[in-house]
Symmetry: C2
Subunit: 494 residues, 2 copies
């Protein structure tokens, strides 16, 4: 980061030497404390016997003091005395296990190599790090966000156990570094967009149109994060998915939205990263510089699996043209028939506490978008979000579009892409041989796609979200009336 950029945003600032600071702690000291702390907490946890997670585990906070001179439990260090707190250690151990992360791998990835500070941290005032192996994101979170995540944990547990294919952020840990009278809380999460895969397009989508266009400044970046209005303009035919994949993505989004709505969470986004396979092939051919950077070790377990997991269960052998992808992208097509890998995840779910502050803006935005019933805002938000994702962003591939997809495939220069395909698919035997053999040239002239006509619209077809008027009625009416009339003691509310 250039020392010229002196701006302080929120708790994030720059010190006289040009180093980033957070609450006046330098980034390097914070990194050091995080690495010492996580090493200690994961190590001490592994010595505790396996047991089931209990309800009260969500509220536990473990704390250990790291004097700079060292103690019999902690090593000496040069970051100044600090205290390291681990929130709900047993619960997060369980979550990591559910996500298939071994304690050793977790500790190794986060603590044995330097963390990489992301210079492009955005307007939130948070500091972001990514682990050297690209697996984990560490993000500073505000006090209220940490508090909210703790409150969310029982519901998060329930969601993980029922909806294994969730697109919600994977929370691997919540910690706090206490130093010089300040608390710096951090969350460890999955890295949704692996840097090893070049994203040709990136979108932050909410389903709103109010002020949802990337700023001029954002557009100057190499890969800007575009917004809803940009998407509608640039990809007006949407991202085309095979039927089973489309259903699975929409069902997962619906289930996630229900959980978010139940916690009155709004303002979350769907982060969409699009890797254009055809474009990558051309780039590779012309540059001979890999569009896909090979940094990532081959044998490593993919953690970028959020997106593909969301569809794996339903994605049967429907004779898809798309081969399996190891990086977890969902195979899709654009209207030109180009092969895409789409990476998606729901982000920014902890910021509900901002609700009050941002009420005016939200209110305007919702009125602008037609919400006249302000009491139902979380359900309105969820419903609009789902509709947008399942009617505008994702569309079911139709017979007509399938033909043009074939055309697109044929137009691709296979020769230039062979190595790319093998790397991507790991299954060169899955190349569409029949297509190459057959003479499908007659169809190549048809490039128009009208999938939107075949797409009956998600929200109107199946499983409406049970909000206010529906299955939720009983919740609304009876939630505080859990026991009968002759009740003498007030029910413990949770």
């Amino acid at each position: 980061m250039s020392p010229a950029m002196k701006k302080t945003i929120g708790h994030r600032g720059i010190d006289p030497t040009g180093e980033t600071t957070y609450k006046k702690t330098t980034s390097s000291a914070l990194q050091g404390a995080i690495q010492l702390g996580i090493t200690h907490t994961v190590g001490s946890l592994s010595q505790k016997p396996e047991r089931d997670v209990l309800l009260q585990d969500f509220e536990v906070v473990e704390s250990i003091f790291f004097p700079s001179e060292g103690s019999n439990l902690t090593p000496a260090h040069h970051y100044g005395d600090f205290r390291f707190k681990t929130y709900a250690p047993m619960a997060f151990r369980y979550f990591r296990e559910m996500f298939g992360i071994r304690p050793d791998d977790y500790m190794y990835s986060l603590c044995n190599e330097p963390l990489i500070e992301l210079s492009n941290s955005g307007a939130s005032g948070s500091l972001f790090y990514v682990s050297s192996d690209d697996e984990y994101i560490i993000k500073t979170v505000q006090h209220k966000e940490a508090e909210f995540l703790q409150k969310l944990l029982p519901g998060y547990f329930m969601n993980l156990n029922q909806n294994k294919r969730t697109l919600l952020p994977k929370f691997y840990g919540l910690y706090c570094v206490q130093a010089a009278g300040k608390n710096i809380r951090i969350a460890v999460m999955n890295n949704l967009l692996p840097s090893a895969v070049k994203m040709h397009l990136k979108y932050d989508l909410k389903g709103s149109t109010y002020k949802r266009r990337a700023s001029v400044k954002e557009r100057e970046k190499a890969v800007p994060t575009y917004k809803d209005l940009d998407f509608m303009q640039d990809i007006h035919e949407g991202l085309l998915l095979e039927g089973d994949k489309y259903s699975a993505v929409c069902k997962t989004i619906q289930r996630d939205c229900l959980l978010l709505q139940s916690f009155k969470i709004m303002d979350y986004s769907l982060l969409v990263g699009i890797h254009n396979v055809n474009q990558a092939c051309q780039e590779q051919a012309s540059e001979e510089a890999g569009a896909v950077d090979q940094r990532r070790p081959q044998g490593q377990k993919s953690l970028y699996s959020t997106a593909i997991e969301a569809i794996q269960a339903e994605a049967g052998s429907m004779g898809s043209l798309d081969t399996e992808d190891k990086t977890g992208g969902i195979p899709a097509r654009n209207s030109k028939g180009e092969r895409l890998l789409v990476y998606i995840g729901i982000i920014d779910i902890l910021q509900s506490y901002r609700l009050v502050k941002r009420l005016e803006h939200s209110w305007k935005a919702l009125v602008h978008d037609g919400d006249t019933v302000s009491v139902h805002r979380p359900s309105f938000y969820a419903e609009r979000f789902q509709k947008f994702m399942c009617n505008v962003v994702f569309r079911k591939i139709s017979c007509k579009s399938r033909i043009s997809v074939l055309a697109g495939v044929l137009k691709t220069n296979f020769a230039a892409c062979t190595s790319m395909r093998i790397m991507q698919s790991g299954r060169p035997d899955l190349l569409p041989k029949t297509l190459l053999a057959s003479d499908a040239v007659g169809t190549t002239t048809e490039t128009a796609v009208s999938s939107s006509l075949e797409n009956p619209g998600f929200a109107s077809t199946s499983h409406p979200l049970p909000h206010s008027q529906d299955a939720y009625k009983s919740v609304g009416v009876d939630l505080n009336n859990t026991l009968s009339k002759d009740q003498e003691h007030s029910t413990t509310k949770r």
Copy 2:
């Protein structure tokens, strides 16, 4: 029930016609209301779309009024106006699904045949019914018990998702019949001891020795429910299990106890029903009246699976002598080598609210048993319970006892038992042919078993329950200290 028995215990009484009453409602009216209510609630639930269970679903209460003249939602009836409440309908639907119970089967079993009132209801003042097909127990529960079960539901959900082989009661539903200004709350549970299988011995075990002997009155019954001291006297060698089954039972008890302890639950029991296969064979031979009553339909899915489920995952192909049993009993042996089927489950977990009232008694009992640290009573109770079950009640079968088991098998009159064995096992091909073929008579003289020497004691070997001094430390210390010093708002406690 004879009209002579006029005694009122708790809310249970007898009216002038001799019919049982509960809170002055006749048993027949209560049954009618329960059946109408469950029919309605299960029916209306099946019309709601499938969705994930949310945290707030545990607190929902649905309510419907049944006027005797009928309404557009409810049929006319002759039980007097009543209101029927269903607690946490979505959550219990999820639990029933987890337990493999289809909505139709549930409704049919409970509502399409008369419920059978159990005359032998015990001293609690509760009224018990069993469904005609023997699958379900309906029990009236007190206000505080219902309240407690509701509070327990999130922890119960977590336990079911982690510890699928739990021995805790299977709660299928919690309802309330409101009539004539009274609330009658009922819980629907699994029937732990199927009447189709004759129990030769029955025990209610707590791990305590204080006053834990069946009363003279209890002993007069055909099959009394004996207690801890009786067990130690009658079955001093314990119930012998194969090694893998022993480990699985003890591990499950340990996990269940941890949950109970976390909810500060005490005074629960392990209900143990023992079917002696050898004895049943002899009885069958001499009486020609089936010791196993054939009432239960053959094709029906066994719900008496609590006990066997607890060991199924670990019970590999260890060359067990015991064949599979359809009724869910755990194959075991007594010290004479006789084949047993053991049915177990943890019962009476909702009565913690009695704690205050019964403090004096509990206190005495605990002091008598050596508990001097009264603050740790739930953990003390849990630990003593586990130790008793895994050191006294269940023992690992040893080589020595295995030999005497063979002897016992050989002594059995196979000819008299053929039909029995086939019915029990459903796998006549699994009969121990090699044993019959080989000449093991030389070992038949050895009948003494000393398995207790080979049993190193469960509690002292593996995974101590993490109570006060242990992994629980952090819970005890930090439970109320979930956020850091600069916290401005008090954390919402759950």
